[in-house]
Amino acid sequence: MPSPASETPLIFDGGQDGRANRYVPPAPPLAELLPAALLRDDLPLPDNTELDVVRHFTRLSQKTFGIDTVFYPLGSCTMKYNPRINDALANLPALRDVHPFVPDELAQGALAVMWELERSLASLFGMAAFSLNPAAGAHAELTALLIAKAYFKKKGDARRTTVIVPDTAHGTNPASAAMVGYNVVSLKSDERGRVSVDAIRAAAGPDTAVCMMTNPNTLGLFEDHIHEIAAAVHAAGGLMYYDGANANALMGNSRPGDMGFDLMHLNLHKTFSIPHGGGGAGAGPVGVAAHLVPFLPTPVVRADGYGETDGRWPSDGLTFSLDFERPDAIGTMRSFWSNFAHMVRALAYCYANGTAGLTRVSQLAVLNANYIRASIRDLIDIPYDEINRHEFVASAQSIKRESGVRALDIGKALLDRGYHAPTVYFPLLVPECIMIEPTETESKETLDGFIAALRDILIAARENPQSVLDAPVNTPVSRVDETRAARQPDLRWHKKG
């Protein structure tokens, strides 16, 4: 069998005319069905046998790390185990094949799934309602900022043009703000790594639309003055937005709604175990406080009979419908109603846990992160060496000064030992930043193995730096020439001749 290091030719390099599979019966030529002027001349795609397709993609999968094979301590990504029952349920034919345009009466089960999830999220995070519309976190941020813009427009307040964002914020925050025409004001974090109340009081004013924060922040630290921060922003007439990327840290313990946030989003592909799938599809529900509910994008799932049934769960006594008649809605954010297959997965995950289970998830996520921090702090700088939440940051700055080994190199050395690298160079505030988030689904044995490997690397970084700088050597390819990729973009195969 070819070794993983050997190159897999492109699917276009193999394949020949006449190797077609018979998935459908032969059909009449297109030229007999439509006038030639409407048809394309040629379809320059390869025909491959099913076996060739199977070998091709199986081999590609073998050159790809996944949670299923390795530990992924990626800060800010929450790479927890993706339960298989969720995929099986999303694949139930009735739920998998239902068309978004069928009348509501034919989709009651699908609507019940969406409604139960929405009610669970609302309670868990302290918001009045959630929209399941957005397809991802960044999409949700955009949605939330559009809601804020519509809210202020309805109030007749045209001065609100600024979004305040801490310097530790995820890049999507300012990018989303720009897509809504807002100016971004970046707030320097204080020496404790947090947003200072004084800084907020100074920055928030009549031009403040939204203050976008996350809690715990991207350094993994709980913003312990969040209540006062929210009060200051509200006093200036602005809204508070919670970036839910770090929600795994606080379920059952603290709620953004109670902290004073008016808007929030969740990343179901982080906190709620939806598979990352190589970079998506995700799902990013948006939650709002009561005064913002009218602005939610359409459609919203409505339940008739709600409040009149005996217990809220199960939802069997209720009739559901999609509500499009919402005069203040910002509009709609996507072709259809939600990444529904992921709503199935997320709800199944909620059922697997319940309130007590989700509370435990957050507690153990925090325990795992602190355990790693406490186990490596003698070998690498921990800029904020205190009890953190579900993630923490380390800095390789002094290692770099000593031997030239950077955060990037430490990450590459971990790849050689069968661990995915942690997040590096984010947040920008910490030089040579390494952000570690183990999640709660990893056992003590796995963490001990990772700690041992990382300790080895940190020692080697000082005593034998070249070994780290040369990494990785055990992976299908070694370090990639990114400069060439950017200077001479080769973004697709071209037919020869």
């Binding site: 599979n21 297109l30 996507r334 072709s335 319940g354 060439r484």
Partner: protein, 454 residues
């Protein structure tokens, strides 16, 4: 349920951390501690969860009906080999391929997706996917606005109503004007006023969908495209039924600058509307404006072929507020599914499936169009969808069809009040002659009842 910690583990770990209990570890200030009891669904064992969701599935009765729905989400045959490969754990549970050395599989697969989309649309380059067809259009419009500096877009009324709604929602954030071009009697875009509309060069782009929402093949004629080019306006071509790309003249061939659309037809489930997969493809001229991720081919330090995320300087994690878009997570796994589908079907399979779609749709159209009091509403040639005029309000006819176990299509009156007596119907390779017969018989019966009542 998925946490492995034993009491002993927790005890040992707390000791290392130097904290007495989990409660102490996660303590938050009283002001923000959870107060009220939380109300999440109850905790169940896996077997009970399976039963619960079987109940949800049973309450979703749409599968018991024969369906002729399309309108942006299409039923196609998905060979099981696609799921078998795409659901491999390495693909399913991988993160974004930022660490190229351990992500070569995914990176190559996405490079192949980019190639397939470029070949299918005839464009130079495509990105690694966006959320869906509607957001692909919104992102394409933003590209055009950035390229031209003009803050207005002219979009055909025959573009999918939901896509236009999303465009308007995004436009509201950017203070961009969205104007509409009407559709003509034949069912295609009415380009007659185009010259005067474009004369003052205010529009960044003209947006047309082909096949359009009515199913009509709506590639703009050469004269219209010439007017667009002459006024330095960009042409955005939308494709909602990606399978049509296998048969019809490519967007590039009729002058499209930015091709956007929906790839769900390639192997992805309809799943009540998502996740699906949007694509954006364009010419080399606009390469640096493309939003989202791009995979490039290069070499590693030992000279081996290697794939890597490239041109990342455009993206949010570096450019922040000056990014070409805020998009981060995209639809990578759905793009993978589509890539495997395209590889398995191949040129021959795709052409055959496309041909079957046309044949079945023609059969459907002939059967129902010939019924008394019914008529095919638009004369333009179609791919696998068309519009049928019925002798009553479409909503009434569709309700009567449902009583007979049929979802007859989409009530166009929902989006076009002037077409309240029209149903948008779709046939694919999954539509059988028996199903067509049943629909025709049912429509005849319903019409006879309606007429008898008059």
């Amino acid at each position: 349920m998925y946490t492995p910690h034993t009491a002993r583990d927790i005890e040992a770990m707390l000791r290392v951390v130097g904290v007495a209990s989990l409660d102490e570890l996660v303590r938050v200030p009283d002001a923000v501690a959870v107060r009220a009891p939380l109300d999440v669904v109850p905790s169940l064992s896996e077997i009970e969860i399976a039963e619960r969701f079987a109940a949800f599935a049973e309450r979703t009765t749409a599968g018991e009906y024969i369906s002729f729905l399309g309108a942006g989400a299409y039923r196609h045959y998905v060979p099981p080999v696609i799921g078998a490969l795409a659901m491999r754990g390495e693909f399913l549970t991988a993160y974004t391929p930022y660490q190229a050395e351990v992500s070569q599989g995914y990176l190559q697969a996405i490079y192949e997706w980019q190639t397939y989309i470029a070949l299918l649309t005839g464009m130079d380059v495509a990105n690694a996917s966006v959320y869906d067809g509607a957001t692909a259009l919104a992102e394409g419009a933003i590209m055009a606005i950035n390229a031209t500096g003009r803050k207005a877009v002219l979009v055909s009324q025959a573009v999918h109503p939901n896509y236009r709604a999303v465009l308007r929602t995004y436009a509201a954030g950017l203070d961009v004007t969205v104007d509409e071009l009407p559709y003509a009697a034949g069912g295609t875009t009415d380009a007659s006023a185009l010259e005067s509309l474009l004369a003052d060069q205010r529009y960044a782009a003209v947006v047309v969908q082909s096949p359009n929402f009515f199913g009509a093949i709506d590639a703009l004629p050469a004269a219209a495209v010439a007017t667009i080019k002459a006024t330095k306006t960009l042409l955005i071509g939308v494709t909602a039924e990606a399978l049509s790309l296998a048969a019809l003249a490519t967007p590039a061939s009729w002058g499209v600058d930015i091709a956007v659309g929906e790839g769900q037809s390639f192997g992805n489930a309809i799943a009540y509307g998502g996740p699906h997969v949007g694509f954006i493809a364009t010419t080399t001229e606009h390469l640096r404006r493309i939003p989202g991720r791009l995979v490039g081919r290069t070499v590693d330090k030992d000279g081996r072929t290697a794939y890597v995320l490239t041109l990342q300087a455009r993206e949010q994690h570096i450019r922040r507020e000056k990014a070409t878009s805020n998009i981060c997570t995209n639809q990578a796994h759905c793009a993978l599914v589509a890539t495997i589908y395209l590889a398995a079907l191949g040129k021959t399979g795709l052409r055959d499936v496309a041909a079957h779609n046309i044949v079945r749709a023609n059969a459907l159209r002939d059967a129902v169009g010939a019924l008394e009091w019914h008529a095919v509403r638009f004369a333009a040639p179609t791919f696998n969808e068309f519009v049928l005029r019925v002798p009553d309000r479409a909503s009434v006819t569709l309700a009567a069809l449902r009583e007979r176990g049929i979802v007859g299509g989409l009530d166009l009156g929902r989006f076009y009040p002037e077409l309240a007596d029209c149903i948008l119907m779709t046939a694919t390779e999954l539509t059988t002659p028996a199903q067509i017969e049943r629909l025709a018989a049912a429509l005849a019966e319903i019409a006879a009842d309606a007429v008898a009542r008059i």
